[in-house]
Symmetry: C2
Subunit: 281 residues, 2 copies
């Protein structure tokens, strides 16, 4: 009698990147699967990308590739601002961007406002390489609505980093002019706002929308980009609005220990392929 080959248990997490594309990763375990007040939280152990956080079906962060994103979110503004001391992070409850921000010794205080306490707690429990700064004495971590917090802040921050989920439901307002305007008011006069603005392949309308909305608020708006493997298309954009500083010129070297960002990468990341320039017209 023929015997069939031994099989293994197949456990996969699938992200629908759009109605027509999906990325699937084999996982070994589900570590957390809960519905918070705001979103579905899933934390899994993947074979290839380490632990991965998924919110409402969208991959947020993996242990293996988050450095690409976290470093580009933090260092471009922090290395081009003349003298950053106070940083605001909107979202980013996992702590990856905060970890990068606090690599800068000149930062006195980083305020992280994530609406969802369960995300912060999930990171604290399951993401040891990402959560390292959540208990740093320079970190001021709060659970509240960032839109409300920002509205009440004036002339307070040097750099604001909007590390939001995709622009749906409660996060949609984070890609709009009224919010950008509140952030502008919360920034000091040489302040800068950075936001993740999705993929020029998969989310063309988000890239364009965020660009236009930010342009309507900040005197100078620039876009830069980088690789981000587990995000749709792997090509990710970041948009930066400033009051007076040119964000494309680093004025200090990268902090120790970066794996993606350097001063040279900083400058290179502002060079946009013509098809992206075309999107912004």
């Amino acid at each position: 009698m023929e015997t069939r080959a031994k099989r293994v248990n197949e456990l996969w997490i699938t992200e629908e990147q759009s109605d027509h594309m999906k990325l699937s990763l084999r996982i070994t375990d589900v570590l957390l699967n809960k519905k918070s007040e705001y979103q579905d939280i899933l934390l899994v152990e993947t074979h290839e990308y380490g632990r991965m956080l998924i919110l409402d079906g969208a991959i947020q962060i993996t242990e293996r590739d988050e450095f690409c994103y976290s470093e580009m979110m933090a260092h471009v503004a922090l290395c081009s601002h003349p003298d950053p001391k106070r940083v605001l992070i909107v979202g980013g409850g996992d702590g990856g961007v905060l970890r990068e921000v606090l690599r800068h010794k000149n930062i006195e205080k980083a305020t992280l406002i994530d609406i969802d306490e369960d995300v912060i707690n999930a990171s604290k429990k399951f993401l040891p390489t990402i959560n390292v700064a959540l208990n740093d004495p320079r970190a001021d971590v709060r659970n509240m609505d960032a839109m409300k917090f920002v509205k009440e802040s004036k002339d307070e921050f040097d750099v604001a980093i909007v590390d939001s989920t995709d622009p749906v439901e409660f996060a949609a307002g984070l890609f709009q002019a009224p919010f950008y305007n509140d952030v502008k008011n919360a920034l000091k006069k040489d302040g800068m706002l950075v936001a993740q603005t999705e993929s020029p392949f998969t989310d063309t309308h988000v890239v364009q929308g965020a660009w236009r909305q930010m342009k309507s608020v900040f005197p100078e708006v620039r876009m830069y980009w980088g690789a981000m493997p587990t995000y749709p298309s792997g090509m990710w954009t970041y948009t930066i609005g400033t009051k007076e500083t040119d964000p494309s010129v680093p004025v200090r070297p990268e902090p120790d220990g970066t794996k993606y960002y350097t001063s040279e990468i900083h400058k290179a990341s502002f060079v946009l392929p013509p098809f992206v320039v075309e999107l912004l017209k």
Copy 2:
């Protein structure tokens, strides 16, 4: 009686990027599905990326994003070589790289050697935006084993572009020193070899292997990178070996009509993130 919602036919193509990751695209039709002498050829119409060519399960080219790859394969060498006139393309039967090569008016002849006539014919029949140069009078398209062809060529080419499939089966030798050495001999004294060398996330060993093998043959070897959405991880490397020219400095402007490549992108693409530099040590 409750009626169920109308359903649609679901037709998907799935690429196993590794044992643990897969990318799936919804398709509307299968245009070609055949086994050639060398590989399984599949040509499908996708919802988001236009027509797509898949060989032995690996996505080769899509109408929507191939410009990222084709332009970076062709223009970096052709814009940094002092005076390129004769180009060799190994593989690339779809014609995408050839189309970009022949945008350069100084090119007198481009010889394309693809082992698989069926790939060329598939492109001629189904990929009108990609196949445009396959019948160009400056194109010399041949079906034969490129390894044999290269071995018999001496001092003939200014630039050789290795547009191969992944390094498995008949294409594996295209990532090895003996082949690189034959290419070196087929090049004129200021000649350059460019090869696609896969993803630093997904194919670490290929990136490293090709780098070392090329280093053992060419006096100067450099790596550059770019975005390529439908390839694993979306971050793609290209390795360039030269006899005497510095490939990172463009000496002429980009040809008209590029959507990814510019002289500024050229320079930026040689800036490697530290984690890639680390791989090459």
